[in-house]
Each structure stands twice: as structure tokens, then as C-alpha cells.
């Protein structure tokens, strides 16, 4: 029994079969990568998982509960956090404020009218936020406006915002897209650290084979909307079907 079970998911956009009979079983505590060439349906699948898209048929169960038809914020409250391709942070707010918001969301739920409570009086929340910032080596940037951070730091902050909520499942949508090699390696290191220390289940959607083989414990290859193979990285590397699907793209 996995933490996330996707069964028989189909999604059509007009004449295009974006997802066809997708079955996935993601084990708790693993790092599971979903790879595939452009147009394979990776992003569609991710959007189904976070409630942005509702599939035509099939079920998505998280911890025994269906996520279908739930709003993104409800799915987050169930314990699924998402990291975006381009870091989504609160650009106008300071780094520490960016960290406080997920802490409040975790404690108070989707809405609470704490309009006359001072932030300064929430010592345990501030403590938690600062602790997380130290963990990702950003505590010295606590007062900076988030939009002025470097791209790598924005990514770091976004991950910290997700992690501070102690999610059961972390979804990463091409976390290293558009990054320089050095930044990519930093991100890989960060993710490996997170996985070792916190034992969070991660699902990574990724293009970059270097990233995938450095992180994943298990890999699903998606092609034309359907899973082609699912196996360990070692076995995927030499798999003929995968080579065929990528057709020279593997070095990307």
C-alpha cells in the first residue's frame, strides 16, 4: 500500500489523450521520479495530483483519502506540498514573513481571523520559522525582501516554506529547470539532505537525467500519456524502451 495511489486515470483535452490509464503506486518514504519526453503528460499528471485538474476517469488516493475534487488549499492541508518550476514565493514580503505564513497555515488551517493578535506574540511560530531558515542556511537573509533573493535562494526559500509544514508528500515540478549546473548541484544536495533528515516522500517531475539519477529511488517513465516502465534507476538507465522514447534526448 503506497502513500499515493493513482489508478486508471484518464484525461483528455479535446482530441488529445493527455493521460491514458495511468497507474502509479508511490511507496511511503521513497523518492519517486516521473520522467518522460516533452508532451508525455508529466505536468498534467502533477496538476491532477494537486487538484488543479480533475481527470475524466480514475481515482487518486492519498493516505486512503481521495484528492479528486478538492481545492489546492485543501489538498495542502491533507499533507501534500508543491514546489513549482519557477519558485512561487511571496515576493513583496520579507523572507521571515514568507516562512511565517506556512507556519500559520499549518497551525490555524485554511482561514482564521486573527486580526488583533500581534505576530510578535507568536513566539513558538517565529521560533519554528527561524529554525527552518537556519536549516536551509538562510537565517542571515531573514529581513530581505523575497523578490530580491537570487534564484537559488528563492528555490531554497520555497522548499523551506513547504518543509516547515512537515508535509507527508512533497511534489517537485522540475525543481532545477533553468538553473546553472552549480545551482542544480546545490539543489540536489539540498533535496538529498531533506530526504535523509526528514524522511519525506517525494515525487519529482524532471527533465534533467542528472538530477533524476542523483535523487530517485524509483523511476516511472511516461510516454504519450501512459506509463512505459517503472523500475529502479539502475534498470531504467539501460532500458531499450526508454531509449526509444527519448530517442537521443537522454543526454539532456
Amino acid at each position: 500500500m503506497g502513500i499515493l495511489e493513482v489508478s486508471n486515470v484518464n484525461k483528455r483535452f479535446g482530441g488529445l489523450q493527455a493521460l491514458g490509464d495511468v497507474n502509479l503506486d508511490i511507496a511511503e518514504g521513497t523518492v519517486h521520479a516521473i520522467i518522460g519526453p516533452n508532451g508525455a503528460g508529466k505536468s498534467t499528471l502533477l496538476n491532477v495530483l494537486v487538484g488543479k485538474l480533475i481527470p475524466d476517469t480514475g481515482t487518486v488516493m492519498f493516505n486512503g483519502q481521495s484528492v479528486l475534487g478538492r481545492k489546492p488549499y485543501e489538498i495542502n492541508q491533507m499533507g501534500i506540498s508543491r514546489v513549482f518550476q519557477t519558485p512561487e514565493i511571496f515576493g513583496d514580503l520579507t523572507v521571515i514573513e514568507n516562512m511565517l505564513i506556512p507556519c500559520f497555515a499549518k497551525r490555524d488551517g485554511a482561514f482564521r481571523l486573527h486580526a488583533l493578535k500581534s505576530i510578535a506574540s507568536e513566539a513558538d511560530i517565529i521560533d519554528k520559522a527561524e529554525h527552518m531558515l537556519s536549516d536551509v542556511d538562510m537565517i542571515d537573509k531573514r529581513g530581505m525582501t523575497a523578490s530580491s533573493l537570487s534564484r537559488g535562494d528563492k528555490r531554497r526559500l520555497e522548499m523551506a516554506m513547504c518543509l516547515v509544514q512537515e508535509p507527508k508528500l512533497l511534489l517537485l515540478d522540475e525543481p532545477t529547470a533553468g538553473m546553472a549546473r552549480a545551482d542544480t548541484n546545490n539543489t540536489i544536495e539540498l533535496l538529498n539532505q531533506i530526504h535523509e533528515r526528514r524522511d519525506i516522500t517525494m515525487v519529482i517531475i524532471e527533465h534533467d537525467m542528472h538530477v533524476v539519477f542523483s535523487l530517485a529511488k524509483r523511476i516511472t517513465v511516461l510516454a504519450q500519456g501512459s506509463p512505459l516502465v517503472e523500475d529502479t534507476p539502475e534498470n531504467i538507465k539501460g532500458h531499450p524502451k526508454v531509449k526509444e522514447a527519448y530517442l537521443g534526448e537522454a543526454a539532456a
Binding site: 506540498s81 519557477t86 511571496f90 513583496d92 514573513e97 511565517l100 482561514f111 486573527h114 500581534s118
Partner: protein, 403 residues
């Protein structure tokens, strides 16, 4: 103190001092001097400063924090005014029941309008609020005449029930016997200071609601509202539902507007539908942007500025101009008066418009930003760090990608 940081307490104390000393501070020129017409320390205008200050503080909680630009807040102003006058008609001239009712009715009204309008954002939200306000305005003139007394405006008549009135009760708005229209005039040297009950009543309420807005700004709720302005996607994926937050902000700002409207009727026991017209909604938008949206003091400053222009600048006429430049040769004098003429008197809105354009172009953070820049120039602080320019508006958008 009062749940505020030391810095905020000092700030609040300065605001309290400035508010209470307004009748003195706005009267810098002696009576009878040529500059006396620039004095703004008369009750009617000071009351407006305080009341529109409250209106703008409330509007800022919605617009300044969440970025949702409402073009219909004058509707709540009108609802507040009508509520107060109705309480005069039914009970007595004591303003308290009316003000309580004004806040409650405007909150309910805001809940209704907000619930519907907040389904959309951006320009669509603005248009929806504008539509609701204009609808209220037109209904007040037509279908709702029994409630609003149509074009005549709602006022107290001698045959109204006024069940709490007895022979000893005052015949004009009062707060437990303190008459709003009464003033104490103090003459010191050539100066005359007017301490008006109505102004102080408004001022004390303004201080209280300013304190509340300060608390909201510093609360987790305030941070959530700013987060909504910055990035709703992240908000959603952080497990927060933006809708009730924006609705709460909308209702709170509606209550502020209702209170302001109620106070207008507390100073002058009349309520007319023109108070709900879209120009009044636009005015509060101008006030907030002129002063600095999202700042604490900005909207109050903007409100003061606009009301000052409306009441003082509009009084200057050609004769006054001629007397100023009388020392110059006739031809030059006429030429100068001719050139200045379009900007004064009835042309005050032209001057205000130009000022507004300059502020928006050169000081996107409003007058507060101007003040901060001057302060930093004096104290020699680096001002690069807190410049809410183009970068402030920028936040990463999710790149559309086809898989």
C-alpha cells in the same frame, strides 16, 4: 503597550498628539493676516479631515493590503449616514445608537456585496463593486425613496417618533449631552483657536480605529492579506483559502466606511444619496494612492490633502491673487494672475489632478514615500533598500508550459 511594539507605540502617541493638537496646528496664521485664508482650523473642515481619514484608513485595509481595488465604497458611506439619521428619527439625537447601527448595517451590506464581487479579481472586481454602488445610488433616488427620502435627502421632521426625546433633550446631534456643534474659542495674541466638540468626537474615534488598523497591519491576518496581494498561487498551495481573507478585509473596510458615513451624519443631521455616487468612491481611491497605499499614515495624509485642496484652494479667487501681486507693475500683475487663474478657485481640481499625476509618476509610494525620501536625504540613510518601485510589483509568475 496595548499589544504594540515600542516603535509602534511611539508612532501611535505621535498620531494621537497630532490629532488632538490639530485645531492649533492647522491655524498657523494670525486672524486678519493675508495668509489667514490658508488656515484650516475651522470645525467643519477638521471634522472632514478626521472622517475622511477614517474612510481612507478602512479603504486601505482592503486596497493597500490585498490590492483589491473597490470602486464602490461610497455605498457604505451612504448606508452609514442613512442609519444614523434613521436613529435620530426613531429614537433621539444621541449619535451612539446610530453609529452602532451604521457599523452593523454597512458590515451586512459589505458582506453581501463582497461575497458576490470577490468571485472575480482585478478589473472585474472593481467593475462589480462600482456597479453595486451605482445601483445603490440609483435605488436611493427611486425605489428606496421611503427609506431614503429620495432627492430631498433624509432628515428629521418634527412629527418623527423620536421616542427617547423629552423636553430636556438637545435638539441637535449629541453624545450623551455633549453637543457636536458646540465649540470653545480661545484667542491668543492674534490667533484664534476653535476647539469643537464634534471634531474631538471624530478625532477620538479616528484614533481608536487607527489603533485597530495598526493592530491589523501587525497581525498574522494582515500578513495574510499582503500575501494575497503578492501571490495567490502560493497562498493556495500553502493551504490557505484566500477568499474568506479577502471577504473579511472587505467587510472590515466596509465597516470603517459605514462608520465614516455615520459620523458625517453625526456632524450634520442629513443624509443624501449623492454621498453614494461613484465620484465619492473615486475620491477615497485618490486619497489612498496620493498618500501611499499600504502605508499606515498615507491614506490619512491623502484624505487631509484632498479635503484641504477642496476647501481652501477653491476659495482663492482673482481678487486675492491681485492683492498678492499688487506690488508688481500692472501688466505683469495681470499676466501672472491670468496664468495662475486656471489653477485656483474652481480650478482647484486641476491643481489636484496635476499633483496626483506627479505623485503617481515620481512617487509611486505616495506622499509617504516622498516624506521618507526627504527624511533619508536629511539623515543620510541609504534609501535603496526600501524603494517600492518596479521591483515591488514584480513576482515570479508560473511559466506556462506544455508538457
Amino acid at each position: 503597550m496595548l499589544g504594540l511594539s515600542k516603535k509602534d507605540t511611539t508612532f501611535l502617541l505621535i498620531v494621537i498628539f497630532l490629532t488632538l493638537a490639530t485645531p492649533i496646528l492647522l491655524q498657523p496664521f494670525p486672524e486678519g493676516s493675508a495668509m489667514a485664508q490658508f488656515n484650516a482650523g475651522y470645525p467643519d473642515l477638521m471634522q472632514r479631515f478626521a472622517i475622511y481619514g477614517i474612510f481612507a484608513i478602512g479603504f486601505n485595509i482592503l486596497f493597500g493590503l490585498t490590492g483589491y481595488l473597490s470602486f464602490g465604497h461610497a455605498a457604505f458611506l451612504g448606508v452609514g449616514s442613512y442609519s444614523v439619521v434613521w436613529m435620530y428619527k426613531l429614537l433621539s439625537y444621541n449619535v451612539l445608537p446610530g453609529l452602532v447601527l451604521a457599523v452593523i448595517t454597512s458590515a451586512l451590506f459589505a458582506l453581501f456585496i463582497g461575497y458576490i464581487s470577490l468571485r472575480r479579481s482585478g478589473i472585474y472586481f472593481s467593475i462589480l463593486t462600482l456597479a453595486f454602488a451605482q445601483m445603490s445610488f440609483n435605488l436611493a433616488y427611486s425605489v428606496l425613496t421611503p427609506l431614503t427620502n429620495g432627492e430631498t435627502g433624509l432628515q428629521v421632521y418634527t412629527d418623527d417618533p423620536q421616542i427617547l426625546m423629552d423636553a430636556a433633550s438637545p435638539n441637535s446631534p449629541h453624545f450623551f449631552g455633549i453637543l457636536m456643534i458646540e465649540s470653545t474659542k480661545v484667542n491668543i495674541g492674534g490667533w484664534q483657536f476653535t476647539f469643537n466638540n464634534g471634531y474631538y468626537f471624530c478625532a477620538i474615534i479616528a484614533i481608536i480605529v487607527f489603533y485597530l488598523s495598526l493592530r491589523i497591519f501587525r497581525s498574522p491576518f494582515g500578513t495574510m492579506l499582503r500575501a494575497i496581494k503578492t501571490n495567490q498561487t502560493r497562498m493556495n498551495y500553502t493551504g490557505l483559502n484566500p477568499r474568506p481573507y479577502t471577504l473579511a478585509a472587505f467587510v472590515i473596510s466596509g465597516m470603517y466606511a459605514g462608520l465614516a458615513g455615520g459620523l458625517l451624519a453625526s456632524m450634520d443631521p442629513l443624509a443624501g444619496a449623492e454621498r453614494m455616487q461613484w465620484t465619492a468612491s473615486g475620491e477615497v481611491v485618490l486619497m489612498t494612492i496620493l498618500g501611499g497605499a499600504g502605508t499606515l499614515m498615507g491614506p490619512v495624509l491623502g484624505a487631509g490633502f484632498i479635503k484641504y485642496f477642496e476647501n481652501i484652494f477653491s476659495k482663492i479667487n482673482d481678487n486675492i491673487l491681485h492683492s498678492w501681486f499688487s506690488a508688481l507693475p500692472d501688466g505683469v500683475e495681470d499676466a501672472i494672475v491670468f496664468m495662475v487663474h486656471p489653477f485656483i478657485g474652481k480650478g482647484w481640481s486641476l491643481t489636484l489632478g496635476l499633483l496626483f499625476m506627479m505623485v503617481v509618476i515620481f512617487l509611486p509610494g505616495g506622499l509617504i514615500e516622498g516624506g521618507t525620501r526627504i527624511w533619508n536625504a536629511i539623515t543620510g540613510k541609504n534609501r535603496k533598500s526600501n524603494k517600492p518601485g518596479k521591483d515591488g510589483k514584480h513576482h515570479p509568475k508560473p511559466t506556462a508550459h506544455v508538457n
